[in-house]
């Protein structure tokens, strides 16, 4: 009765590239990407909120672009590069990435439920628009819901990270912690 796998007669084998690792998953077609990430791959950093694309808690990168993992079936993600919040910290030491540190430094989270989505939204956006102004950042974070912070500190965190990355590039530093 409590078959949460959703596996019926039409289970299918799919291959997913998540954070650079290739996974083979047997799953039902109706399984969304976020459910496969969380339940099959046990990558529970990506959260599930509204399940209809409004809240953004499930935001991951698909081929580098922020996407709603609840609005995609896992089978549709085959052949794409999926990047989740687990990719941001150092895999060996657990040391936080620069964007995560900026969220911490600027109090860009309170309860933290929405944070993985905001981090991946910002990560994808800043990669495409490293010169983004604070106004553009404000516009982009409207994509996700945060019921705690009031957004000011999230905007400040993302802006601070973007500014630091620009300074780092200007200084010609090869070593980058920007993932």
């Amino acid at each position: 009765m409590n078959d949460t796998s959703g596996l019926g007669d039409d289970a299918q084998l799919i291959t997913l590239d998540v954070n650079g690792t290739s996974y083979e998953v047997i799953t039902a077609p109706r399984r969304t990407l976020v459910d496969v990430l969380r339940h099959d791959l046990r990558l529970t950093g990506t959260h599930v909120g509204c399940e209809h694309g409004i809240c953004g808690a499930c935001t991951v990168l698909v081929d580098g672009l922020p996407s709603r993992a609840c609005l995609m079936f896992a089978a549709q993600a085959e052949g794409a590069r999926i990047t989740t919040v687990e990719s941001l910290a150092d895999a060996d030491t657990g040391e936080l990435g620069d964007l995560q540190r900026a969220f911490s430094d600027h109090h860009g989270l309170q309860c933290g439920f929405c944070t993985p989505g905001f981090l991946m939204l910002a990560q994808g956006f800043l990669t495409e628009r490293p010169e983004a102004s604070k106004e553009e950042i404000r516009e982009v974070v409207a994509a996700n819901l945060c019921r705690c912070t009031g957004y000011q500190t999230i905007v400040e965190a993302i802006d601070a990270c973007a500014t630091a990355r620009r300074a780092q590039r200007a200084a010609g530093t090869e070593e980058t912690s920007c993932n």
């Binding site: 039409d10 299918q12 077609p29 109706r30 953004g56 935001t59 995609m72 079936f73 549709q76 409207a142």
Partner: protein, 282 residues
């Protein structure tokens, strides 16, 4: 919620997809970016028995200006690809299309949602549907009986209903002529929400005098509509204010939880005038 079970089919080419749709019949739905369909399936407002995924058909992901100056957009081109297209790709006179993208949902929706998907979904408030009606777009559809072109005026039938046959796939959308003095604007309670009312205009002008123009509205009927009464005001040399007033008088918008008919008419007056001014200032 979670979607009801279905069978998943991945199309290798357009012909294969349409053959499959013909075979599966009414129980099948095409999925492209899925930004409307998956949400509807998660709510179980849609329960297709089969999904035919055309997302891998790269030949439908293209954007460019043809020899006659028409803009051709492949059905699988995402909103984000259009909003980040270079001036060379998009061609002169299609800025109205690029600028309209900012009104579509939010960035993570625009990176997956497709032009063809939005058109085939046929939401009465969708920006793409409004642009198609305003700019007399043509829809290139392919099915088991071959390819045909459908003008925008004959494409949208009503709420979420289009002229596409169940076994046809939209492959390309053609915008036949540049619209250098055109603009789209809308109002929603929150940025990124579905528009309560949207307005778009396309002016024929030398930058000083308006000779004629087209006016289209979304959110006031079962599909986007052109408003000949408002266009007549422009052709007669009337003011933008009078044009907007004529548009509000001409339509009979629905009233619902998002706004009464009276409120929608108020929005039409404001938005049509605003769109005219934006179009003029381009």
């Amino acid at each position: 919620m979670k979607p009801a079970p279905f069978r998943y089919h991945r199309a290798r080419d357009v012909e294969g997809a349409t053959a499959l749709l013909a075979e599966l019949g009414d129980d099948a739905k095409v999925i492209a970016g899925g930004q409307s369909l998956v949400a509807m399936m998660n709510f179980r407002l849609a329960r297709p028995a089969h999904l035919v995924d055309i997302g891998g058909l790269r030949e439908l992901d293209h954007l460019g200006v043809g020899a006659d100056g028409e803009l051709r957009i492949g059905a699988l081109t995402t909103h984000h690809t259009v909003e980040t297209a270079s001036p060379r790709e998009l061609g002169a006179g299609f800025d109205v299309i690029r600028d309209a993208m900012a009104w579509i949902g939010h960035l993570p929706i625009r990176t997956r949602g497709t032009v063809g998907g939005s058109m085939a979904h046929g939401d009465a408030t969708a920006e793409w549907c409004l642009l198609a009606v305003l700019l007399d777009a043509e829809f290139v559809a392919r099915g088991p009986r071959g390819q045909r072109r459908i003008p925008a005026r004959e494409f949208f039938f009503g709420y979420y209903t289009t002229a596409l046959d169940p076994d046809e796939i939209l492959v390309e959308i053609v915008f036949p002529r540049p619209a250098p003095h055109a603009a789209l604007t809308e109002f929603a309670e929150r940025r990124g929400d579905f528009a309560i009312v949207s307005a778009a205009v396309d002016l024929d002008t030398d930058g000083r005098t308006v000779n004629s123009g087209r006016v289209a509205l979304g959110g006031v009927a079962a599909m986007p509509v052109r408003v000949p009464e408002a266009e007549a005001v422009l052709a007669a040399g009337g003011s933008f204010r009078d044009c907007a007033e004529a548009a509000a008088d001409a339509v009979d918008p629905p009233g619902d939880a998002n706004g009464s008919a009276h409120y929608r008419k108020h929005l039409i007056r404001t938005l049509v005038e605003r769109a005219c001014e934006e179009a003029m200032s381009r």
